[in-house]
Symmetry: C2
Subunit: 434 residues, 2 copies
Amino acid sequence: MTSLNDTHNPKLTSWVPSANEIGSDFPIQNLPMGVFRNAGSNGEYRGGVAIGNQILDVGKAFDAGQLKGDAAAACKQSTLNTLMGLGRGHWVSLRDQLSRLLRSGGNEKEGRTCLVDMAGAEMTVPARIGDFTDFYSSINHATNVGRMFRPENPLLPNYKYVPIAYHGRSSSIRVSGTPTKRPTGQLKGPDAETPNFDACRRLDYETELGVFVGPGNVLGYPIPLEEAEDHVFGLCILNDWSARDIQTWEYQPLGPFMAKNFSSTISPWIVTLEALAPYRSAIFKRPKGDPAPLPYLHTKSHEGSGGLDINIEVAVLTDKMRKNGDLPHVIGAPNFKGMYWSVFQMLAHHSSNGCNLNPGDLFGSGTVSGTTPDTYGSILEACKGGKQTISFPGDEERTFLEDGDEVVMRAWCDGDGKARIGFGECRSVIVSAA
Amino acid sequence: MTSLNDTHNPKLTSWVPSANEIGSDFPIQNLPMGVFRNAGSNGEYRGGVAIGNQILDVGKAFDAGQLKGDAAAACKQSTLNTLMGLGRGHWVSLRDQLSRLLRSGGNEKEGRTCLVDMAGAEMTVPARIGDFTDFYSSINHATNVGRMFRPENPLLPNYKYVPIAYHGRSSSIRVSGTPTKRPTGQLKGPDAETPNFDACRRLDYETELGVFVGPGNVLGYPIPLEEAEDHVFGLCILNDWSARDIQTWEYQPLGPFMAKNFSSTISPWIVTLEALAPYRSAIFKRPKGDPAPLPYLHTKSHEGSGGLDINIEVAVLTDKMRKNGDLPHVIGAPNFKGMYWSVFQMLAHHSSNGCNLNPGDLFGSGTVSGTTPDTYGSILEACKGGKQTISFPGDEERTFLEDGDEVVMRAWCDGDGKARIGFGECRSVIVSAA
């Protein structure tokens, strides 16, 4: 387990004042990594670290001699793949240096020359994502959705043994702020004789966390669970957009395809596993009667600390609400601790047949849903498959999403006198189909 | 449709004698593209074209002034992605120049300086494959396999409307000649109470063609069927290895995952769509009663020429046969003309929701199977799901594949006085699990 050190001390403050504000996502204890450039510059993207409302240009600080080592140098590149491949020793060294540079009493004079205002920066997808895999690790989500398709048998027999997943599309992953175009596709109503080709009418979000892989493995050589955390670089927020009507018609027998690959949106900042160390928790406690995980998915140490206590929230801002100056309306607020499978089990399982993972690969956790309606991570669940409307401020109602709706996801860790660790936002507005 | 020109003339010969031998896969009319380096050199990979038993180093010929243009220059790179992104105009120009350089009467003296003996070359995966998608376009395969799972209802209602596909894993695609390690994973027999983790016992091949995408599209902007062929660079052979026991237990509800992502093997040479022009055919004629494809998957011109008349053959060479000096034993020999969905329909469908394709993306066609046992493209079909053994020379029998078995796939076009266009081989030997 990544150990706590002085970079996690909740009493630390930064000479960047906005980092010390209550509720800031990016205090000195966080130091998430992303890729940015000056907005509208058409310049090269490069690696940066978020501190309050500022970004430290890591490569620039390296060139100025304020940071040393391969990890800092790797941030001069336009993706973080090289950094991700270096491994935990390098990441920890960079984090230590960043903490010392940016904390109160650090070299503010020199550090300031490498700051860029976040408001004047443009973020992008932080890695060249070779492969994207989407898991299905919330048993509540699997049960809620399964119930709509198979009322008597909501959860399939493999669920409690296999961290279920499917391969996703990496080309259509976009960073927060990119609009999402409503997809077109084959739709077939339950009573229709034949399908027709039209704009999706049951557009949904899926509230997930994304996991960026660090060092990979050689094809044919699985990563054991004991070593899984050395292969996890960090986490972001992921909106796995879903076209439910396309999905219903296409998904058998090979799984969702066109219902998913039109767009996925991720938050720009990757919160490192190191930053999350204070929020490690025991894994989800399986209810009596559930089978134990097979040995390759179980260790005592993982049982004690494989979980992550992360709050998640998904909200929607409609066109009308935007005009009225309303805030996004929260629909669901689950916690990641309730996931049936941990990110480390996902990684160990994914490589258990010999499949090779590469630095920059992305996993989606699957929709994070709790047990009550206010913790559901998809609209499909919140509106009971379209049978129940959701009320919005300003007398609006929704089942599925409409054009102009903006989906806003947030995630953060807090509590127990620890420093708040925020993920920032993952947002995207729906624009009409072609 | 790519038009026939003098590069297709069956009377053309090459000054490379092996290209003119009867049965050569790589005559002057073919000119498939691949990526190679001198074996054991640890040098840079670069683009080449196969001619008989030789490879023309295209970048070297460009540097020597024997070839001109961006397409030839792009072959100096270690992947063909740039070449693939340039588009048909560039490809045709390169093909014309290559044909003129390599044909009898061409500049043999200069050309010879750019030849590398195929026997002394090492091939690799010819593109950085951003995303790999596997289709399911043989209705015979879908029916044969569906019958094992759902005897009364083998074909699902969506099959005749939707070119069914799922996303695959790009990281584990390897070139012909790379051994394939038997995967481990969760297996659960039909009568077992719980699964166990063990080496796969029902290892299978799937005989497919692979399609390399040329220029892509912008996210949100589908490629209409009329334009699909401008986005197809060429085809190769693909063995989509499948662990049937892992698949049976894991595949519901999200499709195959660990049953597939441990390895896929492709042949090294990409036969361009231009080379295949003489073998374009009408698409598969749907039987009476089948629905017509939806309008976005149908044009008159596509109906007349969307098919490809390609012979495929899959054979197995066991350890014992190898010691006896036997040739690989052919198990199935289907033709690609019988596919229910064409490669152009696959491409148009894939982008029809706005999903963006990129140069170098790879599609698998899905297992190519005919209607009779001697045309089945998987062992699962050939051995009736394990119920029937397959006899091999030397008194061996098989249901599924054993360690030491080598799977050898071949594909070629011939007939009607046209020049033979070969794909070479896709082969890989199974090595035991860790």
